[in-house]
């Protein structure tokens, strides 16, 4: 039995699943190589080629399967290679290591010591993926599959129980039962607002107007966030299955996947997956012989951040200018072409089949009251283990940053973590034990957002951070609401003043007043959170703002207008490395004698600091170091 003919019933899917499982179970050795974007940059494609070549040379094609998969999550250490069934794991694999890994690990079941992952904190060598601290502290439901799936192979997905949830729904449930199941699970929108998904489906289902539409929001624009991309790239069928289940429950016949044009691989993978699913009879007309008609179309976004906002997304989908509009009416009442439309985030759709397969109680078992299930965060910035982490709702930020993330590199101090993307807020050290759920984050003056976590260390200037994100929002505001367009511009100007030493004590009061007005008056989620980066840093790091204004001091040494570079006499050995790299030729001094920086000509590029091996170059600001 294979996929030559479309699947006409759940029984046929079951049979196919059985055949696929059987085919792969007899001492089936598999080597999974992460081909997520991070690992591809690290050379994963050449690693895949090397394994394929070595294995064909040895004539082991029958025995060993080489599987290029989606993102495993541990992007810091790419390219990642894991082996099943042994569970051995090698990070930062190079093409030249392929032969050794095949000979030793796959054929003789012994580890290659020099390739093993070493815990940076204990320096202990770890052989199995499950024991790596980065993975050990996570609860991976959606991401776990990424590591075992060939995203371009629908059979692979069916072999791990794919489309079983859909078959179950079509065979044994009615739409109301499906909606009740999703409501009971407490699944809340993973795009940031946290609206109960089941509730949204219920409202849409009850609308008298026909036809109904589904949209998968994959317009993931937050800098540093890439969980939706990784799901679409690594496990596109999970999203399709989730949407099919949604279509059955809501009574929709057409769905859209609105994905960023900047995600070419995700577009390619999801397009292929849709075609495969259609050929297999799992999408399109009369899905699995049940009479359900539902088809999907991929629509690419044109690069506007604001189109991640649902009403702007719908406008864009209709071919209009991506501009939010007043809600209500909500999209569930009047959405795409004024018809009821359910818009859910990629991660939300991907959770649906799991809830159907395991039951709502299972899902409620993770997380906190009011925030059920797991959430994927993209942990980036000044943290040892950069990557995607999936944890139950309610774990603390400390657990994510220190236990999973392995703390701050180079022995630096943790300073802040920014949650919720550019319109989110920064949380200080004192809030490390805050549980991440929708409510707790809101209380602390930030938002869950789609799950970006940007870790900052002591070398980060919080005023500069606020300025950066405010500038981002200024540029990405659609410009419709005066409060948002002009407000973000004025906030950025005031922050510029502070960063460049023109700040006055009046600036802070004005910033606060303006920030509240911007958040209050604007129409959509972008404008209503546009002042968050500034307000949250002002709330938690007011002393830094005051130091910039009163003492002209940037303690992190970031704001160029407020810092000076000097060379310390006692450390300088006159190697002249600094004067060679100085682009403005403002470092003077004889070879082997003290060098000095002519401050007036210095452009503060920091080149001298980077090349000095003796630590003689010092940044001073406002009289302090």
């Amino acid at each position: 039995m294979s996929l030559d003919n479309p699947i006409r019933s759940s029984g046929e899917l079951e049979d196919l699943h059985g055949v696929l499982v059987e085919r792969r179970s007899e001492d089936h050795l598999c080597i999974s190589i992460c081909t997520g974007t991070g690992c591809v940059v690290g050379g994963a494609e050449s690693v895949v080629d090397a394994f394929v070549e070595v294995i064909s040379e040895m004539g082991l094609e029958e025995k060993i399967e080489v599987k290029p998969t989606g993102c495993h999550g541990f992007c810091e250490m790419g390219p990642l290679v894991t082996m099943t069934p042994s569970g051995y794991f090698y990070p930062q694999v190079h093409a030249r290591d392929a032969r050794e890994i095949v000979e030793k690990t796959l054929l003789n079941n012994e580890v290659v010591e020099k390739l093993l992952y070493h815990d940076p904190q204990t320096d202990e060598a770890i052989a199995r993926e499950a024991d790596v601290p980065f993975y050990k502290h996570q609860k991976r439901i959606i991401l776990a599959e990424n590591g075992h799936l060939n995203p371009t192979d629908i059979e692979d997905y069916i072999s791990i129980g794919g489309y079983k949830g859909l078959a179950h729904v079509l065979d044994e449930m009615n739409p109301d039962e499906v909606i009740t199941c999703v409501i009971d699970s407490g699944l809340a929108g993973r795009g940031g607002a946290g609206f109960p998904t089941g509730k949204k489906w219920e409202i849409c289902q009850k609308q008298p107007s026909e036809p109904k539409y589904l949209v998968c929001n994959a317009d993931e624009g937050d800098p540093g966030a890439y969980m939706d991309r990784s799901i679409l790239e690594g496990n596109p069928h999970r999203v399709i299955e989730g949407m099919c289940i949604g279509a059955f429950a809501i009574g929709a016949s057409q769905g859209f996947i609105y994905v960023r044009h900047e995600y070419p691989l995700a577009v390619e993978r999801i397009t292929l997956a849709i075609e495969d699913a259609r050929t297999a009879g799992l999408l399109g007309e009369d899905i699995m012989g049940s009479g359900l008609n539902f088809d999907l179309k991929v629509v690419r976004g044109a690069g506007a951040f604001v189109c991640g906002e649902e009403s702007a997304l719908l406008k864009s989908l209709e071919g209009l200018k991506g501009e939010p509009k007043q809600r209500p009416p909500f999209p569930v009442e009047k959405g795409f072409q004024n018809k009821p439309t359910v818009i859910n985030n990629v991660e939300t759709w991907a959770n649906v089949p799991h809830i159907i397969n395991n039951g709502p109680e299972w899902f409620v078992g993770f997380g906190t009251e009011g925030s059920a299930g797991t959430k994927i965060f993209s942990l980036v910035g000044k943290v040892n283990n950069t990557g995607l982490v999936e944890v139950p709702m309610g774990v603390t930020i400390r657990e994510i940053v220190f236990d999973i993330g392995g703390g701050i590199p180079n022995g630096k101090e943790f300073k802040a973590v920014q949650t919720g993307g550019p319109a989110g807020g920064c949380l200080p050290t004192s809030m490390l034990d805050l549980p991440v759920d929708f409510h707790a984050l809101q209380e602390a003056g930030t938002i869950m957002g789609s799950g970006g976590l940007i870790v900052m260390d002591e070398d980060t200037c919080m005023v500069d951070v606020a300025r950066y994100f405010t500038k981002f929002l200024e540029e990405e505001s659609c410009g419709k609401c005066y409060s948002c367009r002009k407000g973000t511009q004025r906030m950025r100007e005031l922050l510029d003043d502070i960063c460049e030493g023109r700040g006055t004590p009046g600036h802070l009061a004005l910033l606060e007043e303006l920030g509240h007005a911007v958040n209050t008056a604007s129409m959509c989620g972008l404008g209503q959170n546009a002042a968050n980066p500034m307000l949250s840093t002002l709330r938690h790091f007011r002393d830094e703002y005051e130091a910039h204004i009163n003492e002209h001091r940037c303690s992190a040494g970031v704001c160029t207008e407020l810092i000076q570079y000097t060379i310390l006499e006692e450390f300088c050995d006159g190697c002249a490395a600094c004067s060679k790299v100085c682009p403005s030729e403002c470092i003077v001094g004889e070879k082997d004698s003290l060098h000095t920086i002519i401050t007036e000509d210095c452009i503060k590029c920091g080149s001298c600091l980077n090349v000095c091996t003796r630590g003689a170059v010092l940044i001073t600001s406002g009289g302090g170091v």
Partner: protein, 244 residues
């Protein structure tokens, strides 16, 4: 508009309105003055200027929405002049007056709301992108010769591809409705950021006194100035208060 009548509460007063009517219309029926820049009865609501914001919802979880785009619904509670609303309106007017000081409409609104500081760097924009001209052209003149282009700081109103549009009949409707073009502030010093000269005229050209139901002689102005901050006999507020 359907004929169904629904009940709402406006500033604590019960009121019956037609379903589907927007909050701004309902308030105006009650004689409540809500300032607007981008609204016109003959055009569709857009919600760009954010001056017509009102606070809605039960006391413990209110939200602020633009009244021109928000439709009345059964049981809706509305506050049109709450502190949160007034503070925000004032800030928006300060933003407006600092960026588009040449519009008399804006100067008057700022004065009427007691905006006596202009704390942002002065700019001289001729357009605040309220979009009245765009809707006028499209909905009343049936031309669609102009529309918005760009986003964020690049947002502007223009013809397609910035070329002269064949659809434009030079009717002037856009200029007629523009709050910046049609009433350019021709005060003594039109281009100072916060003119407010009209406040010192007698009788004042601003309806601020009627508006606040004050029976003091015109031009007293104490209600919109901080206590003790009296104007010099010939001075203008802009000279006294503007931190340019």
């Amino acid at each position: 508009m359907s004929a169904k009548v629904i009940n709402i509460t406006m500033n604590g007063l019960p009121m019956e309105v037609y379903e589907g009517m927007n909050v701004l219309e309902a308030a105006r029926i009650m004689g409540i003055d809500i300032p607007t820049l981008c609204y016109d009865e003959g055009l569709s609501s857009y919600g760009a200027c954010r001056l017509c914001i009102v606070e809605i919802g039960p006391q413990d979880r209110t939200k602020v929405v633009s009244s021109c785009t928000y439709r009345c619904e059964e049981g809706l509670e509305i506050r049109t002049h709450s502190k949160r609303v007034m503070d925000t309106r004032k800030m928006i007017l300060e933003l407006l007056v600092c960026s588009t000081p040449g519009s008399k409409t804006i100067q008057d609104l700022a004065a009427a709301h007691g905006v006596i500081t202009a704390r942002f760097k002065p700019e001289h924009e001729d357009c605040m992108l309220c979009g009245l001209c765009v809707r006028m052209c499209k909905e009343q003149m049936m031309a669609t010769a102009i529309d918005f282009a760009g986003r964020g700081p690049d947002r502007r109103i223009t013809t397609p591809f910035d070329e002269a549009s064949a659809l434009c009949r030079h009717c002037g409707g856009c200029m007629f409705i523009c709050p910046a073009c049609s009433s350019r502030c021709m005060g003594p010093d039109a281009d100072t950021t916060l003119c407010s000269s009209c406040l010192n005229l007698s009788p004042s050209c601003v309806e601020v006194y009627d508006h606040q139901q004050c029976w003091m002689p015109p031009g007293c102005g104490t209600c919109i100035r901080p206590e003790g901050d009296y104007l010099p006999a010939t001075g203008r507020i802009s000279e006294v208060k503007t931190e340019a």
